[in-house]
């Protein structure tokens, strides 16, 4: 079997370059056509009010969020796949993103978010935590990978139904119209307020997940062998649970549930590594950042009357790639 594994640092450098290009492009494109020269001037601190506002108040927070949320989703997918030994695992497939969305919806539309700015990410994290805890309990007894996925679909569907119910019950008559933003995700109109909500959560989540590389590698041999190699499974599970919940919770709280990033990116990256779970973690984070930023760019460039939701683009990008991979690497993952 032909293996095309890149040396680790080459892969990371290449992905980082791609991400940088995507980020710069994200700053250069938008609803309003601004020349590169004008934007560079504004970046240097010119008097051009329009360009400055658009660059710093609109495109910059949007780009930062695309990178951060994309990284978190890619990393969460890689970590969950490693831990659950299931190549289909990722926050949206397991229903975690939707559960976090339910928490976010409860916070905003019932006025709870006004109590304190931390209530929103807190409730979103809570939703994610509940759904993950449920799945981790089930995964212990799951004999086939499919059982876990089915459980995830059940949890996710329940969360979606709950979200719809919450939006309809809300005293705010406009709430029900915003359901698509929550279920498909959007980076439109984000500001630095949102960045300060999401970034700390994502930073914590990322750190907690990256810490698990060794444990995930050890789990290649099964839980018993992993423990016999010195892995503290309980701590690993806790770090994974809490790290994913906080990171995904913070992300979903400001963007809604964006699907497939955590599924696609590890799959695309895995063939370029030695396929050990730890080797995929950091590259998946960087790849996720690139993917979401490019998808968000697509949302802004594709001309539609109503704003195209991010989740639609990630689904169109993701599912075909996933299917191709599925057929080619059936035996391998």
């Amino acid at each position: 079997m032909n293996r095309f594994a890149l040396p680790r640092w080459s892969l990371i450098a290449a992905l980082s370059a791609l991400t940088l290009v995507a980020a710069v492009a994200s700053l250069l494109f938008g609803a309003v056509d601004l020349s590169v020269a004008r934007l560079v001037d504004a970046a240097m601190g010119s008097d051009d009010k329009v360009a400055s506002i658009i660059l710093f108040d609109l495109r910059l927070p949007r780009t930062i969020l695309a990178l951060a949320v994309g990284a978190m989703l890619g990393l969460a997918g890689a970590a969950l796949q490693g831990y659950l030994r299931n190549p289909l695992a990722e926050p949206s497939v397991l229903g975690t993103s939707n559960a976090a969305a339910l928490g976010g919806v409860a916070a905003i539309y019932f006025g709870l978010a006004e109590i304190h700015v931390i209530v929103l990410p807190l409730l979103a994290t809570g939703g994610a935590l509940l759904s993950l805890a449920l799945l981790f309990i089930l995964s212990g007894k799951a004999e086939s990978p499919l059982t876990l996925i089915l459980a995830g679909i059940a949890v996710g569907t329940l969360a979606v139904a709950g979200t719809s119910l919450a939006l309809n019950l809300s005293p705010n008559p406009f709430a029900a119209m915003e359901i698509m933003t929550w279920l498909l995700g959007s980076l439109e109109n984000r500001s630095f307020d949102h960045v300060w909500i999401a970034l700390p959560c994502i930073a914590i989540g990322t750190a907690m997940l990256l810490w698990n590389g060794r444990a995930l590698d050890a789990l290649t041999l099964g839980e018993d062998a992993a423990q016999a190699l010195g892995t503290d499974l309980r701590r690993t599970r806790l770090r994974l649970l809490i790290g994913t919940a906080i990171g995904v919770g913070g992300a979903v709280a400001v963007t809604g549930a964006i699907g497939f990033v955590g599924l696609i990116v590890p799959h695309l990256i895995r063939p370029l590594t030695d396929r050990s779970p730890s080797a995929i973690l950091l590259p998946s984070a960087i790849g996720g950042a690139a993917l979401l930023t490019l998808a968000d760019l697509g949302v802004r460039i594709i001309p539609t009357t109503n704003e195209l939701k991010l989740g639609v683009v990630t689904a169109f990008l993701g599912v075909p790639v996933f299917l191709v991979h599925l057929m080619r690497e059936r035996r391998l993952w």
Binding site: M1, A228, L229, D274, S276
Partner: protein, 257 residues
């Protein structure tokens, strides 16, 4: 050098007591086989020694309670080859064997030269050097068994516990594995293997523990432990045991009437 002491060890899984009141001492340089019928509690006993299940009584490794010992310390003392040939990701053989170094790696450090040397030695001892770039999940049963064994050897721990290492291997490969276990013990390691095959157990082990329904029925040399009466009592089989040669040979006739 390392010692493992079991003192009145009992294990309850669910509501069933799987292991009752087992006491035994294990020391270096010996290959001990744990034999017994299906469901006797052999694997559970092995897992109790590694603190993978909670046990009453005491399991001491080098005099220290195994359950209280930090996992990494225990991992450096005892290497474990679990039942089945579980392999979740298609790693290369070299990478897989490298996993055996995990107990020795400090939190954020990379693999050192010492680690690489240990991996090489392990692959050589298990005779898998020519497989190093192959994908472990694509190997045959016999090859995979050797590779997983190499992974355990890479830990370079003074003790090794193997749970049914011969499952689904052809006779030739079964002999390969037993030869490796034997060689480890000869090199001074404390080796314990849970075995099904009485013939091989009799041929290779210095000591046998015969377990039935969670209790030790016999503990001694193969010649002492494997008698026709015991085999009938424990396995319900009719067999003849000949102790003339270097090791006892067992001929099976059929079910006991």
């Amino acid at each position: 050098m390392v010692t493992i002491s079991l003192d009145h060890v009992g294990v309850t899984l669910g509501r069933r007591a799987v292991v009752h009141d087992v006491s035994a001492e294990f020391g270096p340089g010996t290959l001990t086989g744990i034999v017994g019928p299906n469901g006797a509690g052999k694997s559970t006993l092995a897992r109790a020694m590694l603190a993978l299940v909670s046990a009453s009584g005491s399991v001491r490794v080098d005099g220290v309670d195994a359950a209280a010992m930090p996992r990494a310390d225990l991992a450096r003392r005892i290497a474990y080859v679990p039942q089945g040939q579980t392999l979740h990701w298609p790693l290369t053989v070299e990478r897989l064997v490298g996993l055996g170094r995990l107990p020795h790696l400090a939190p954020m450090s990379r693999i050192s030269d010492a680690d690489t040397a240990a991996i090489e030695r392990a692959m050589e001892r298990a005779d898998v050097l020519d497989l190093r770039d192959r994908i472990a999940t694509e190997l045959s049963g016999g090859e995979r068994a050797r590779v997983l064994f190499a992974r355990a050897l890479a830990v370079e721990a003074p003790a090794l516990i193997a749970d049914e290492p011969l499952a689904s291997l052809d006779p030739g490969h079964q002999i390969d594995v037993m030869d490796m276990l034997r060689a480890e013990a000869a090199g001074g390691a404390l080796v314990i293997a849970v075995l099904h095959d009485l013939t091989l157990a009799a041929r290779y082990c210095d000591r046998l523990l015969l377990i039935d329904e969670g209790r030790i029925v016999a503990d001694g040399t193969p010649a002492e432990v494997l008698t026709a009466e015991r085999l009938r009592a424990v396995y319900g089989i009719d067999a003849r045991v000949e102790t003339g040669g270097e090791w006892p040979t067992i001929t099976l006739f059929g079910r006991a009437r």
